[in-house]
């Protein structure tokens, strides 16, 4: 492809692949942009041209991923740690579904996630196979084009970049080559503010956001801008964020949500629960009508606890609860 590329004019190349401009700037070749009528191989040397061809190919694969969305993810069971066949032989999660993952530390939750992330083909210690839309997916999900199946969100994550909310979201949108970036940035900020309940301004540095605001911004950003169709959540703290709405935002964007949690309210919000033990998926539980009804009860309990917390913060005495 680099041979064809060299023969094209700068204008043709930029017209076809607008992101190539960014590549040229990164390479310190911004001056090339001022010579639209020149053939590329006149102004760019062969090694850079080769890299540019590779970059364009990768970006095309990366952006093209939007054409065939991941509608479902199937995990074909392998074996448990003791070598016995995995009790759940097949599990399919669909876009817009929330699957909770429960099990003690060391039970194999991380391995399950790693199998999904690596799109296992019987080549991991569990022998599991992961299918996308019912088929064995190609290598691009294995980091070859920087594509990753799983976006992650956990309580340990913090923002580390020294940027305002606006600049940060612009940077993310730009790196994703997202169409209509301004609309997306607005939408993320609006959703994050709704989730956090405690609004923040666009010029707030992301490192100064409160815990709830940070989490809200991370969730809204994953929903709108992340390339990964699967979202793994490791608990969502029960303070400063509307958790039901957070899940709804992800579901609306057709994400497949996997949530490791031992919080009864979160667990019952899921469509199904996968129980992990001994390195295997041992059971899949769909919440019964009884469980669903208890969710109402649990939420009432939770609201009472939150109210006590509020009173404590306001300096009240808790002799009457």
């Amino acid at each position: 492809m680099s041979a064809d590329l060299g023969g094209m004019t700068v204008e043709t190349v930029l017209g076809r692949w607008p992101f190539a401009a960014q590549f040229l700037q990164e390479k310190g070749l911004a001056n090339v942009l001022d010579r639209p009528d020149t053939a590329l191989d006149v102004v760019v040397d062969p090694t850079v041209l080769q890299d540019m061809a590779a970059f364009i190919a990768e970006m095309e694969a990366f952006l093209g991923s939007g054409e065939e969305p991941v509608r479902e993810l199937t995990i074909k069971g392998g074996r448990a740690k003791d070598g016995s066949p995995e009790p759940v032989a097949e599990l399919t999660a669909r876009a817009g579904e929330v699957l909770c993952i429960v099990g003690p530390t060391g039970s194999g939750k991380s391995r399950l996630l790693a199998d999904i992330e690596w799109v296992a083909r019987g080549d991991t210690p569990t022998g599991r196979h992961v299918l996308i839309n019912g088929e064995v997916p190609d290598n691009r999900w294995r980091g070859g084009s920087g594509m990753h199946l799983v976006a992650q969100l956990s309580q340990n994550m913090n923002f580390v970049m020294d940027l305002s909310v606006r600049d940060f979201l612009s940077l993310h949108a730009e790196s994703r080559q997202a169409p209509e970036p301004l609309e997306k940035i607005e939408r993320i900020a609006t959703w994050a503010n709704e989730l956090a309940g405690e609004p923040f301004a666009m010029d707030t540095p992301i490192t100064s956001l409160s815990g709830g605001q940070s989490r809200a911004l991370m969730i809204a950003d994953i929903a709108v801008l992340s390339a990964s169709p699967v979202v793994l959540i490791d608990e969502i703290e029960n303070a400063g964020i509307d958790r039901r709405q957070a899940l709804d935002i992800l579901i609306q964007q057709e994400k497949i949500v996997l949530m490791a949690t031992h919080d009864p309210i979160l667990a019952l919000m899921g469509d199904r629960r996968v129980v992990i033990g001994g390195g295997a998926m041992t059971k899949v539980i769909a919440p019964s009508a009884g469980e669903r009804a208890n969710l109402v009860e649990l939420k009432a309990l939770d609201a009472r606890l939150m109210e006590l917390r509020r009173r404590l913060r306001a300096g009240e005495v808790l002799d009457q609860i």
Partner: protein, 243 residues
Amino acid sequence: MRFVTVSGPPAVGKTAVIIKTLEHIQGEGHKVGVVKFDCLATEDDVLYRKRGIPVRKGLAGALCPDHYFVSNVEECVQWGLATGLDMLVSESAGLCNRCSPHIRGVLAVCVIDNLSGTDAPRKIGPMLKAADVVVITKGDIVSQAEREVFAARVRMVNPQASILHVNGITGQGSYELGTLWSGTRETATVEGLKLRFSMPAALCSYCLGETRIGADYQLGNVRKMDLDLPTGAKTDGGPGGEP
């Protein structure tokens, strides 16, 4: 024997990533070993030895670490073969960002972390640009958006590499990295192979132990910054031209 060169800036978690990855390969019954290159001091050899991984360490001391690496790498390969290793990993820190130990025909891995800032991929240079596999660490403590931005920056510098996220503490992603290492081809010698990128040029008076500052003491491969100094400014004797 399979040979893998691992490089990366200091303190990104190279040793942790190598240990986690080699544990999987050891677990499959293969004999693995490490050569650790550093400048002044390292205790990482103890960490490897604790896990039953034979290790040799090389301290460059007063020499340019990469020149030291390339002058010793063939002997290291021969040590690996003599020790009966199935896989040898060389670990070296790219201390000046201009360094790159990567060899044509030998699997080249660069480790960088999410905390090093979005400009880091551009600054790191040949050890990242010329790598086959880029491992990004410390992804468990930054946001998904920052991971994606960082990975996109890496892709911009090195569009051809496989990019893997590995957690050096839990080992997540290290099994997968191990499959890439195991899939590399056999190396019996690196004699006659070429570096992917030339080493930083050297040989000025300071390479040879000069410590005094001033134009009079600068001999050999010396290059001056363009600071646009006013004409007539003294550059060799300080203000007032004191000797």
